[in-house]
């Protein structure tokens, strides 16, 4: 009797493990990780210089910028909106804090103060991001205008401020200590990548373990239901755009520290598309969104981008070809997502 029980328990355990594996395979995260692995293998086979220490480090240096921007795009996407002004916010905050560091802060500092120095620049740019986010949030939340329209016009507005301040040129002559974030690494891992990991964790905690995250999900699923259950939708929208603005400004600092300059046009043409692409790839829809998926999708996009770059090197106008491929890729992912949704509904 006892023996039989044990056997049954064993079978149950076995079944539950199988079920668990089945469920894991079905998740988007698993699919994304598989895609990442396959892409990595394919590029490593076809490009000799792909799987080297140098190219991997350079990838880790490049991806935090648009990784954080994708997080900034993801949160508005979770309530069915779009924030197209993220790149212009990033550039504006980089330019403003760049001006601050050139004009206000002393130019030569002892090295032990560089942390305070970088901290103050971060703080300033995050304040800028907060203000721009508040601006977007009021227009979308309280006035009720469409988020695409609002952020398209604030995109022009913020870029306009940047152009006006820099007179259309690139802001250079920034102090060396800003470049520390974009060029140094700790234990072989770039600092900017570490910042990206930390920021992702913070966003994960906000979305999954705070009342705000719960409300965002609820509002994304059904706006009127959340309104009638006592959630102030307008306040949530404002908070969402403020978070989005702050995240973009962090990304602005990363861009500034990597290039040691600030300009209104960095990433202006492709980063918006890339961030939406990442959001769609990660399966972010109204009411749903996982930071882990976004993180893996960012890695995938960086692998594709670097791989293509290596393959296309030396071909004239290859950046135009890349644009073309990004567009097609986005459409293909849309279609795949559509069919997956259909399959889910059928089963």
């Amino acid at each position: 009797m006892k023996k039989q029980n044990n056997v049954e328990n064993g079978i149950n355990d076995w079944n539950s493990i199988v079920n668990l594996i089945k469920n894991v395979i079905k998740t988007q995260t698993f699919l994304l990780l598989t895609a990442l692995l396959i892409l990595f293998l394919v590029f490593s086979i076809f490009e000799e210089s792909f799987f080297t220490r140098r190219s991997i480090t350079s990838m880790l240096f490049q991806l935090p910028e648009f990784g954080i921007l994708s997080l900034a795009m993801m949160i508005p996407m979770m309530i069915g909106g779009d924030d197209l002004s993220i790149v212009s916010t990033a550039n504006l905050s980089a330019i403003l804090s760049g001006f601050f560091s050139v004009k206000v802060l002393p130019n030569i500092l002892p090295e032990e103060y560089s942390i305070i120095y970088i901290g103050s620049i971060f703080l300033l740019s995050m304040i800028v991001g907060c203000i721009t986010g508040l601006f977007n949030g009021i227009l979308v939340g309280y006035i009720g205008a469409n988020s695409i329209l609002v952020t398209l016009s604030t995109l022009t507005f913020f870029t306009g401020i940047s152009i006006g301040l820099t007179k259309g040129s690139v802001l250079i002559g920034l102090p060396e200590s800003i470049g520390l974030i974009g060029s140094e690494s700790i234990l072989g891992i770039p600092i900017s990548f570490l910042i990206f990991v930390v920021v992702s964790m913070v966003v994960f905690i906000i979305l999954n373990h705070t009342p705000l995250g719960f409300k965002i999900r609820m509002m994304g699923t059904n706006q009127s239901a959340s309104k009638f259950s006592g959630i102030n939708n307008k306040k949530i929208i404002i908070k969402i755009f403020i978070i989005s603005g702050i995240l973009s400004s962090i990304s602005g600092i990363l861009i500034m520290s990597r290039t040691l300059s600030a300009s209104y046009q960095y990433g202006a043409s492709t980063y918006i598309l890339l961030t939406i692409l990442i959001g769609v790839l990660a399966g972010v829809v109204s009411g749903k969104g996982s930071v882990l998926n976004v993180f893996v999708s960012v890695l995938i996009l960086q692998v594709i981008s670097t791989g293509f770059h290596m393959m296309l090197v030396g071909i004239r106008g290859s950046s135009f070809f890349k644009d073309f491929i990004w567009g097609i890729l986005l459409i293909v992912i849309f279609i795949i997502n559509h069919y997956r949704e259909k399959m889910k509904k059928l089963s």
Partner: protein, 338 residues
């Protein structure tokens, strides 16, 4: 009757046109002349065609930005095709080929949005980048200013010429006729055909339109065809007017056109919008660009001003509804206290 006119969004737009005109006129009295009217009209021609193409899609309830890329794609590839084959004829063939390319390209928008049920804006963003990349990589990235013989003097075909004491002769280009014809046809389509009423119905409520028996997918495809065709038409007209075929024409102009359509009373939630309103919306945007130059604001601050004004204009319709709701609330409260 007056109340109806007053409450229409077009009325607000008209008032804005008047205010800006008076403002510019105060700074520069030379503005009140036929010459400057011609000038504003000339610079608006292309944008009116683009905006009219976008109008049906906006009424349906979508925001599309790919139309500028479709315009550039069809105009530039038509030009390259004809020039490389030694074409020496007139503009007629240009328009025919370009519009066909535009319509074919717009099928991609409609297939993706109807068959796969995708968001119109997301699709258009992908196509925007894709087409601009395509035309610059596969067709060519160089500007071209060589024109076939038969079409080379199209830019100087004028409908009217007026002598002006300030600026000498000022002319109204013949393509203003195209604008009038396109506007009239679109107005008739929107008002008096089942297709046109269907566009408004889908914009109002898609499910209701579906249940009423409108063929939603066909109507969506139709609006995209209008968009693609007119974008190509605008692309050719633009290139002939400035005597330059540029693969990046209209790049970055999408916001101006969208803002013009919104300003003309089209609701982004769909179901509203008119040809006359769109026409006035484009004029307003052109007047703003003009007044910025006249006031003497430095070029580097122009985007800032334009962006700021766009934000205000986009909020106006929403502010109006908010105020209206507040007034209704007050009325209700007032009657209750009685």
């Amino acid at each position: 009757m007056f109340r109806k006119i007053y409450s229409a969004n077009e009325f607000v737009t008209f008032i804005i046109i008047l205010l800006i005109s008076i403002f510019i006129g105060l700074i520069n009295p030379a503005f009140f002349s036929i010459a400057s009217i011609f000038d504003v009209l000339r610079s608006s021609i292309v944008y009116i065609i683009l905006a009219l193409g976008l109008l049906p899609v906006m009424i349906v309830g979508g925001i599309d930005i790919s139309f500028v890329a479709i315009g550039a794609l069809s105009a530039y590839s038509t030009h390259m095709l004809l020039i490389n084959n030694g074409y020496e004829g007139g503009v007629f063939l240009y328009y025919i080929i370009a519009c066909s390319i535009g319509i074919i390209a717009s099928f991609l928008n409609s297939i993706l949005t109807t068959k796969f049920n995708l968001n119109i804006f997301n699709v258009s963003l992908a196509l925007y980048i894709m087409w601009f990349g395509f035309v610059r990589f596969f067709v060519g990235s160089k500007r071209s200013a060589t024109f076939p013989e038969g079409a080379s003097n199209f830019y100087s075909k004028f409908l009217l010429t007026v002598k002006d004491p300030f600026v000498g002769n000022s002319n109204l280009h013949i393509s203003i006729l195209f604008v009038v014809i396109i506007g009239l046809v679109l107005m008739l389509i929107l008002r008096y055909t089942t297709f046109g009423r269907g566009i408004y119905a889908i914009g109002g409520d898609r499910d209701v339109a579906l249940r009423t028996g409108f063929k939603v997918n066909r109507i969506l495809t139709g609006s995209f065809i209008i968009m693609g065709g007119l974008a190509a038409f605008a692309g050719i007209t633009h290139s002939f007017l400035i005597r330059l075929f540029d693969p990046t024409m209209f790049l970055g102009d999408e916001l101006d056109v969208i803002a013009a359509v919104v300003l003309g009373g089209a609701s982004i939630n769909g179901g509203r919008g008119s040809v006359i309103g769109t026409f006035m919306g484009v004029i307003v945007i052109q007047l703003i660009h003009r007044s910025i130059i006249l006031i003497g604001i430095p070029v580097t601050w122009q985007d800032f001003i334009v962006g700021f004004i766009l934000i205000i204009f986009i909020s106006i319709p929403y502010l109006k509804t908010i105020i209206k709701e507040k007034l209704v609330d007050k009325k209700v409260a007032h009657e209750e206290t009685k």
